[in-house]
Amino acid sequence: MTDTAVPARLEWRVATVVHVRDETAHAKTLILDVPQWPGHRAGQHVDVRLIAEDGYEAQRSYSIASPPEEGTVALTVERIESGEVSPYLCDVLREGDGVELRGPIGGYFVWNVSYGGPLLLVGGGSGIVPLMAMLRHYARAEPDVRERVEIRLIYSVRAAADVIYMKEVDALARSTGVRIELTFTRAAPEGWQGYHRRIDRAMLEEVSWPASARQHAYVCGPTPFVESVATLLVELGHDPARVRTERFG
């Protein structure tokens, strides 16, 4: 393949915060209006840049939570107490403020309904964010397209207070038939009938398709979580080339 086109630079753009939504005690969603946003694919991320009065600069990457079909860009940011960008985004930034970003970035941890299924999504903590963009994208597909693509999600959180997007995920499960399995690694809610442990081999065997179904798996979360889940999927016979991962730190 010859490619003589000069690729366009990903320009820094000043987005406007049009809405801030509390997701949990530690996570907020920023709805951003980005001028000349070129569009994105579900699973991609942006770089956010903060410049202080004295010229000090900090950049971090955040996954996009909104589907390509929406005109605005949603970032769900978990506050890292020792961090320097997430506390600003969660505690200082208000509706009407500007924030600098560029993107979309990343062309591998992406999914589109045209890729087909079956699709296994495995998220740990705020690792749900790029997977949510995929689910929201799926929910907007035509019913006959959805019928051909089955999705299952395993979402691992410490406790009920850490669950991001729960109402929407529940509603999505009812309206689209996506199978959602929540697992609590610490405290489960009273009367909880579902999984109450870290994701293990047995859980993946129960929820994922057999290796012969050639599922696409997307795994996102903290490094030890992703290492463990991706290794287990390979041990269960799934093709490593169909296991895509995104690790947080």
């Binding site: 630079r9 903060l50 990457s61």
Partner: protein
């Protein structure tokens, strides 16, 4: 192009400044060693492991087993590393064989005609580099980190180490280098990342100068 920077209202530095000249633009220093990979961590038994240097045609190939690689002269570079995801880590201590040593040992004869290399890896990852970026004491095949064998999640048994470029060029689970007359973009280089990736020029993505 000296546009006025957009000041983030109410934002102040929360970190102590890094030593002058050590942190490329847009990077922050971490004491951890974060892990970033696009897929599962491959695990190849050392008995099956080898490292190859291939010319454009496969008949000109050099091959080292794990033991043969370890019999070559070793170096112990201590270097700063810079990941495109913004973290930098200072004074990382490695053990490995210089790519100069491997290319010299390979005696391919026709290296002069090849200005580029592609590193290939277990798991299918590739990354492309100008030959000049992996020669002249700038690159190693590293199998030791911090006095111990390189852990699998950090690219063990062996990874490329090219610390003057963003760390995606330091291919994990590396199994060889293919010499090329013409540049061929690797995995991330085909997916929107910069072809060369110099952190001091902040060459993160395609189109960055």
């Amino acid at each position: 192009m000296a546009e006025k920077p957009f000041i983030a209202r109410g934002f102040h530095a929360r970190r102590p400044a890094a030593p002058a000249g050590r942190l490329p633009p847009g990077q922050y220093e971490t004491r951890d060693f974060p892990v970033l990979s696009a897929g599962p961590t491959p695990r190849t038994p050392l008995a099956d492991w080898d490292f190859r240097v291939l010319g454009s045609s496969d008949d000109r190939a050099a091959r080292w087993t794990w033991d043969e690689l370890h019999a070559l002269p070793r170096e112990t570079p201590t270097v700063d590393i810079h990941c495109v995801t913004k973290w930098s880590k200072f004074d990382t201590a490695w053990e490995g064989v210089s790519v100069d040593t491997l290319l010299g040992d390979a005696r391919l004869g026709d290296i002069a005609g090849h200005a580029f290399v592609v590193a290939f890896c277990d798991g299918g990852y590739t990354t492309n580099l100008p030959l000049a970026d992996v020669t002249g004491g700038k690159a190693w095949v590293a199998f030791g980190y911090d006095g111990a064998p390189l852990p699998p999640e950090h690219g063990g048994p062996a990874r490329l180490l090219v610390p003057h470029l963003y760390f995606w060029k330091s291919a994990k689970w590396v199994r060889g280098l293919r010499l090329l007359a013409r540049d061929e973009p690797g995995f991330w280089e085909q997916l929107g990342y910069h072809n060369r990736g110099d952190p001091w020029r902040e060459q993160r993505y395609q189109g960055d100068l």
